[in-house]
Symmetry: D2
Subunit: 355 residues, 4 copies
């Protein structure tokens, strides 16, 4: 019997934070309950003795003793006193930029769910405008970061001290395209189109005009056209350039789930079997990707699971394809993938605690 370990998480008040808390509370290999830190709750709430996790997320009430957990004011000393080994950050990227170097310094391994450390190229980081970009410490930290997509970087994640957990849209699109690009099937001269649609939880918990029920319901809208922050990630990970893809996010009137419809043209005609074979080979040993044989994935099939579902259809000539990639933006697109990375870092089965 291997020993269990102690984790902690910062930023529990958002939607991804709630899912992560739930997963950590149930994970069979983790020790007791993780201390949880607000990250966004007003300081005044925390002054008054701390609120409980289930006050913030009533739906967690039945989860393995969640009722007893209080939101703690963040403290490096508490982490140290509890012997925390792995720290999850579900914090805004500015906060992750600030804290991660110190966490590493203190010997913690970090899984960061923000966009703070995902991008190797300065050009791509420009969209985040990090105040510290260019400092030596930032460069040294970035150098240690491993992009936390197990299907691409399984071995490096296992040994990583800092895992940059991928964005939800990026996960959906990278998993669909990387195998085909790596195999050299796609004719990039014609450009790829990734038309992506996400449920409202992707827009975050703070109430805004865009997350108002009256705006989101019975509607569909585009946003961040040619400018979404996940663009850099998917370019770097797929290994293509800015001009090779048009990626457009849409806001769907559903609570959660992403469906990306991806259009590609092949260098030469393919068959259903030749394409399926490329996917099968690439995802051999990847328990959290489901390849669809006949039907196409739908949001309803992957939502509330940690699976990425991938299917495709060729045109009659075999030279063009529509690829469909579905996942739950809060699980495989955030908290679930973070736990998948945790499992790799601990040498556990990749899908442990994710069924």
């Amino acid at each position: 019997m291997t020993k269990t370990i102690q984790t902690a998480m910062v930023g529990v008040t958002g939607y991804a934070g709630a899912e992560l808390a739930r997963l950590l509370l149930h994970h069979p290999h983790l020790k007791g309950k993780p201390p949880v830190f607000a990250g966004r709750v007003d300081a005044k709430d925390l002054e008054h003795g701390g609120i409980s996790l289930t006050e913030v997320h009533p739906q967690l009430a039945d989860n393995n003793g969640a009722a007893g957990l209080k939101l703690e004011p963040f403290s490096w000393e508490l982490l140290s006193a509890l012997g925390v080994e792995v720290l999850f950050l579900a914090t805004p990227h500015e906060q992750s930029r600030e804290w991660v170097p110190e966490a590493l310094e203190r010997g913690l391994r970090v899984i960061d769910l923000s966009g703070a450390w995902r991008l190797a190229e300065a050009d791509h980081r420009a969209v985040y405008a990090f105040a510290d970009d260019g400092t030596e410490l930032a460069a040294a930290t970035q150098a240690q970061a491993v992009y936390g997509m197990p299907e691409l970087h399984r071995e490096r994640i296992a040994g990583a001290r800092l895992v940059a957990n991928p964005g939800c849209y990026a996960t959906s699109i990278i998993l669909a395209l990387k195998p085909l690009v790596a195999a050299g099937l796609i004719d990039l001269r014609h450009g790829i189109v990734a038309d992506a649609k996400s449920g409202v939880s992707g827009a975050g918990k703070p109430p805004t005009p865009r997350t108002h029920y009256m705006y989101a319901a019975d509607n569909l809208s585009l946003y961040s056209v040619f400018s979404h922050r996940h663009t850099g990630e998917l370019l770097e990970q797929i290994g293509i350039g800015q001009c090779d893809i048009m990626f457009t996010p849409h806001l769907l009137p559903i609570p959660r789930g992403i469906l990306s419809t991806i259009y590609v043209q092949f260098k030469k005609a393919q068959t259903r079997e030749s394409v399926a074979g490329v996917y099968r080979e690439f995802f051999a040993g990847s328990p959290m990707v489901r390849l669809y044989d006949k039907a196409l994935p739908q949001i309803q099939y992957s939502v509330r699971t940690n699976y990425a579902d991938i299917g495709f259809q060729l045109d009659a000539g075999g030279t063009r394809a529509v690829i469909v990639s579905c996942l739950d933006n809060l699980l495989k697109g955030a908290a679930g993938q973070a736990v998948q990375n945790l499992n790799l870092m601990l040498g556990r089965p990749e899908s442990e605690g994710l069924a």
Copy 2:
């Protein structure tokens, strides 16, 4: 050919305001375009030259020249210069308390959509805690107010200088109960139950945790149990006491519409026909109430109309009934009823501009 008149409205940025603007722009008896005033838009927005109505409400773009309308800073002088005769206020009740006395003083007729002037009894007004309650001016103004429900006060509205436009829930429940209570059918000793459900537009346009899509969608919740502000209105207008009714609002995962399910017990057994007769007689000459013969009203039938739909079903013994009352909270529950009142004040057909 009767002359047309000039109106104006304050508080155009909310959902009821948008509906009212649309109705006024299309009303055949009104002169040109009404000047519209923000009421809630930040002062800084207005400083910058004024924003257009269609920037705030893009769905109004096709409405009869709405594109040309700018949101004006409020000004008594402008009202006067334009010869405005009727002023609509879709403002918070505090603002209506402040402005209505001056408007009346200046000779304007006012239709106020807030709860400021609906309540005759001080006990019922307590829920609003008006700073000026108790002043002579407030009392004198209140004395002029007519509760703007045409089906109850048609004649008085016609001559009114101040119409207090009813609340949405109150309209739904009063129309269902007043005829039966007035006819002496209901045994009040057993208590009436009014279980009311409203779409999210009833919660207003400012983004809040409760109007977040993630809260409202796939959910149902109660609020203001035993304490909703519309309670006083319905007691006064139906003519019953606090103990005679339990009224509970619910937040429905739909954009608009109210359905109230009302439970009553009769003093003696009724037949379908005896109850239907009471309703028919009461609503004779009321073009905006539809009585249902066989099926029961549903939200989908009254939404986007100015109709109040009423139906009912008796139990086998005829001593108990379930009454169903549906309307669109933004139309018959707000802007539509306001225009119905305007029509009465101008001696126009009651449903003009409301088809």
Copy 3:
């Protein structure tokens, strides 16, 4: 280590069937995979070699080897050959009436999710019009049936050979009212109102005009007023008469979840604590009921759990109360409660496999 046992289920193609299959596949005390039987799939589908469970319910694809399960044509011989001890029926009530006597005869223990055996009184059964009502075999079978609500009949369920699993609405209303009626708090002369609202999965999987998206979405409607089939159950289990309650179901535009708003008047004034105490005492030892202290239950908190959530609010005088009862119609209202009953029948912890 206690031995695991073999179960089987008939009627897997509906929504409750899918949930039951999922729960059985994951239950730690059950042997391997249960054989599953269609119950409603067209005979011609089954002729063609049998379809797989995951073709009918793709969302089950990741569940513990569900992929390998085929829908079998029903066969007593197969049940016998596999050593099935407990048989779940998620079949129409007519089919349950026909099969249960034979199942008992063959020594199987049965948990029937239909309304076939829930009702002790012939008057209440009239709504189902069973062809065999009145036969000796039916009477003898009915005499063995235990109403499968653990919170009321825990001991009898443990030893039962036939458990009649409760209806979803009935569960919601009985749990809210039974403690107060049993404690003699409620003044029945004034009548109870149970205004209940259910998501669309409660209307079943076959496409009908009422389950069409265009009918259910953006709408709210009543159905089965004064005539819903669950009325008999709740009268018998609460121990009240037809005239003591008005129960009205509504169709909510959400996939799943029930919220019942229940209105009662007390014989004498109560306090929050006196009522809470009655509930706490009644539900002591009931792990699947959550009592709410401050806030009221909402559908979003109980959906996708097996909990029944109960909360209430008194009026200022303490003589009237609004009680709110929420549950997931497919879990605590159907498949989850069935597994809760299974656990009792096997002497297992009541909430096993339901977390």
Copy 4:
């Protein structure tokens, strides 16, 4: 004052039929009430004395005397007796193929909402597999058909005896692409992508597994990939080939509305103004197209209007664009466009009765 004319419509029971009935009842230039014919209602319903229009569509109850209209059994004699001049067919395409030749023969002008007569090329018609394709009568009828998109064929529609009203998806995509293709801006070698999303009313009124609330809600799915029936229309009208475009429909969890996201690459770099200029010129004199300057169209802005909303965004280099095209599938995508065509045929203002 020009004389008013008499119309009639067949196929009133569907969603587009209801909208068409509503528009015809309110149209200021039409005579009295149009006779309406079921088209799909069971013969047995009609036997029993005829059902009323408002029984089939209760939401039409307030529309200008709709209450008095009965669904008639179809009869050429009745059309003749009433002096019907224009016949609308909202019937299945097979029925339109059968009836249109006779209608023309009898001197009626026809606006057919089905796909029966939209396609000039036999290859494109293959998807419908008309039994009569290849007959002389069919060829002669087809030769008279004008594709009913006023923005493309205004003059020919004015004189047409048979107008083939466009498909909803096709309208959305043609209006977005035709101006740019006609102006020679688009580099077709790279292929166009049209990722289109439609509300559930597009799937028709008969209940099916796909229109079940439980399937459509909280979901997104693709259908008819590389094979949707509207493909032929958009190829013929835009003037491109099968290989020049990938068009994929999605089923949105909303009642109505289409949003098409269209990706193009230009032959040479464009500016916002150069593209906007092409659109402005093309749509000069087209009152039912709204061009967006800054923001992009959203479904909520065009739904329940007859407008087609078009906006676009260029990438930084000006060589690629995302075009967004929104409309209401039942109005500009069906019944509204049909009335627009009627107006042209009668020499009336194109937007009459459509505000």
